[in-house]
Amino acid sequence: MNGVHDLGGMQSFGPVLPEVDEPPIHEDWERRTLAVTLAVGALGLWNIDQMRHQREKLPPAQYLSSSYYEIWQAALENTIEELGLLEDPPEGVRARTAEELVTAFSSRGSYVRPTDRPARYAVGQRVRTRNLNPVGHTRLPRYARGKVGTVIAVRGPHVFPDRNAAPLGTRPDPEPEWLYTVDFDGRELWGEDADPTLTVSVDAWEPYLEEVA
């Protein structure tokens, strides 16, 4: 989705403002939003890509004028409402205990999934990103569409976000896609005035890429 969350390369946001000795959490409500989001997420009623899409599809003005945890809270509220979770909690779903949550969050998950298909591209190969503009969730940023780059790593077959972010309440398509890290020269992305020493990489799934003729 071409949303305002896709921020790479915009030039109107001013300087980055670091905060000296910043605490991990600023407000008590942020603490609760973090915990509730993670705890309800652990019920398994949606996946990370579905929740990312819930955040990025907030109205643009709301997204840009909200803090990080305000975005989390708003997306969580919308999700709970869309699923009717408070009116009609799903059968058999119960709160995770502290032990279950801490164990889950301190364990190693994986987004690698098996596939029979071989990787189509290899390290060192030139590839072009496709000019994709899907209305649903995607993880190919706009600044890196239709650009030629070089594969520098093959990361294995990973869960494919564009299909994993299936509409809420439906089952995602589990077929993974090969994931690559692709390097782009700064001038390929930003033109002749770009920093000549700049390289930017994105992690791109195979359906985002095509061969360079």
Partner: protein, 221 residues
């Protein structure tokens, strides 16, 4: 879900209602809104308050950049560990006990005099929680996410950092579940320092690439 309406209502009429609403009336709108949702979810058995407290404790107290600093200091002092870290960061980091959500597919990228690395997530705020903890506000801000990929030297200037001319700059946009950690250069004059002392020189920003590791004289002994 209507919480906007209900909390503003309780603000206006808190004296007419029960003690819960009076308590809410002293809270900020976000406090009241978040607490209301937590209460509803708790009443329906979907979250457990003790479990929420445990989650907060993990992410606010236990996980943080001190974990990543330990990884970096080990890599600075143990060439075998450094080689392992660059080859298979998942296993090398797990060997020090730093495993968990948002750190499933770690990749460590090494700064050299020739190349400086910087990490961003332009699409949201992906960040390696097990080694760096929760991301700072600036990392999540539109300004950083917009600027890092087009003007990383400008970002470094915002942090008061100037790279030597000729140092190439490489920005890693973490658009998948791969999480990047920068291995900063070991400062000069640190030959005799212990691993523990070296870890004190490793800042969060140096592991994102918006900063450099501190020199010993920049840290109180």
């Amino acid at each position: 879900m209507g919480s906007d309406h209900s909390h503003s209502h309780s603000h206006g009429h808190s004296h007419d209602h029960g003690s819960d609403e009076e308590e809410f009336s002293t809270l900020s709108p976000m406090d009241a809104r978040v607490r209301a949702l937590e209460t509803l979810l708790t009443e329906r058995g979907l979250v457990d308050r003790a479990a929420l407290d445990a989650v907060v404790e993990r992410y606010e107290q236990e996980v943080g950049p001190h974990n990543g600093a330990q990884v970096v200091a080990r890599a600075w002092t143990d060439p075998d560990y450094r080689a392992w870290l660059l080859e298979d960061a998942d296993e090398a980091i797990a060997s020090l006990g730093h495993v968990g959500r948002q750190g499933e597919h770690m990749v460590v990228v090494e700064n050299t005099p020739e190349q400086h690395n910087m990490v961003v997530c332009t699409l949201c705020s992906c960040y390696p929680w097990p080694v760096l903890g929760l991301p700072p506000v600036w990392y999540k801000s539109p300004a950083y996410r917009a600027k890092a990929v087009i003007d990383p030297r400008g970002v470094l200037a915002d942090f008061g950092v100037t790279l030597p001319e000729g140092t190439r700059i490489k920005v890693w946009d973490s658009t998948a579940e791969v999480r990047y950690l920068v291995l900063p250069m070991r400062p000069e004059g640190t030959e005799g320092l212990t691993e523990e002392r070296l870890a004190e020189l490793v800042t969060r920003d140096s592991m994102i690439g918006t900063g450099l590791a501190l020199r010993p004289e920049e840290v109180a002994p």
